[in-house]
Symmetry: C2
Subunit: 276 residues, 2 copies
């Protein structure tokens, strides 16, 4: 069954939603690729082919950026010692050391600061929470384009939000100046065929998508059905079948559930962000 076979749409929707699928969708090879996404946590150690990182960065830079400010950067870490240290800082995520490269996406107000400094101009606007939010959004749009490009080349990826567990240590490891932080990492490499990753089902569209007006209470039945879909997936993956709501509750329980990220605001201030 080729990726652009319309019959693949039904199979792709079944993997992505379980029994609770939206109506018929439009289909082409690009959409097929997007729907087939899965996070990869087992890699071959092979280096990436020449030009790969430049390709991913060109794709990333082609994403929209708020007012063309381009307040993001990327540090491609291939140094083995640094990857090993990043794996530790992420709570022992071995795939960071295993894959040939991790792209660290930087929320970067330092470049704007440099330009203001050189022009002997004020940079007060960058001291507001809004500027950090723009940087985080810009970096995310860019990174997702890199993911789409990587997957189109047969590569696997996984985002590493745990780069925010110890923001200062991560920043120091790659020499970030003030007003710059690693907002997340993105591991890139060849998936290990011995440990294939599965497509994870998501919430029904009835919970996530709204027309003209948002409806909260109406989401309850869709959430309940998704709990069953998640349980079935967990069972198939030989994981504890706790469902999905349990995961939401566990994350919300208390500050400790945030693995150090409860101090993100303090860390950002230490890294030079104003957050006014």
């Amino acid at each position: 069954m080729a990726l652009d076979d319309p019959q693949f749409a039904a199979a792709a929707l079944a993997l992505r939603y379980g029994p609770d699928q939206p109506g018929p969708i439009r289909w082409n090879p690009v959409i097929a690729g997007l729907l087939a996404h899965r996070s990869v946590r087992a890699y071959l150690p092979d280096a990436l082919p020449a030009g790969t990182i430049e390709t991913l960065v060109a794709a990333a830079q082609s994403a929209a950026t708020s007012s063309n400010l381009q307040v993001w950067s990327v540090v491609a870490v291939s140094d083995a010692d640094k990857r090993a240290r990043l794996a530790e800082l992420a709570g022992g995520q071995r795939h960071i050391a295993q894959a040939p490269v991790i792209l660290l996406f930087i929320a970067d107000l330092a470049r704007a600061g440099l330009i203001a400094h050189d022009a002997d101009a004020a940079a007060d606007g960058y001291d507001y929470l809004e500027s950090f939010v723009v940087a985080a959004i810009d970096a995310s749009l860019a990174a997702q384009n890199a993911v789409v490009a990587a997957e189109s080349l047969g590569l696997g990826t996984v985002y590493i939000g745990a780069m925010r567990n110890h923001p200062e240590a991560v920043a120091a490891l790659v020499g970030l100046p003030p007003r710059a932080m690693v907002i997340f990492g993105l591991v890139i490499g060849l998936p290990d065929p011995a440990h294939p990753a599965a497509v994870k089902p998501r919430l029904p569209q009835a919970a996530v998508m709204h027309h003209d007006t948002y409806a909260l209470e109406r989401q309850r039945p869709a959430i309940a059905r998704y709990d069953e879909t998640a349980r079935a997936f967990q069972t198939a993956q030989a994981q504890k079948p706790v469902g999905w709501r349990a995961l939401i509750l566990a994350r919300g329980r208390d500050a400790a559930a945030l693995n150090g990220r409860d101090r993100l605001k303090a860390a950002l201030r230490l890294l030079g962000f104003g957050l006014r």
Copy 2:
């Protein structure tokens, strides 16, 4: 010249970077599509074909989401009155009223709150800045997948960050509950062929991409060259040829340059976000 013609790579890089291009990149139709992105600000009023929004949302939901928390939602606004009001709230961006739909991406901690409420459980973890950041990142990754899917279907898109100019009014318009906010909008429609959009050049990779260690000062010559590239682009577009650094300085000048977004933190608190 077909999109998958390798000769197209050189043309695409020239549009994206001007004279300051990276070395040879890898190439396929997906990467060709990503590099050809441009923001579209002139639309035909035609409705989207059946199944389009469901397709974009399926693509969006297929993006990675931190710990599968899925703390984002989307409100598809096709109601003409609401689109007209959103266009006003965005400072008079007519394309919001012109195109058939705007997808409002929601940083959504309300669903988690509902689940905690129903379980009579604590939701303190969602009161931290980290949870807002996760929601903003998740929504951004999702939205960018929707952009890639839309463009693969021949549709145009433009992000509307100005949804953050008046966050409370926008939230009220679509009935958001506490702990939810529109992080940005995404206009979707058929590009008006009478007003074609251009690919905008970006910073050279020498400024944005770093290997193992970030370098700030080294970016100066690349930034200076990009100022010339931006000037040439602005001239070609019949815009004032101010270059790029001028734009960075204008945004940083003071709080007023943020068009109301200097009060984002206060607005988020009023909308129920803890931001601890």
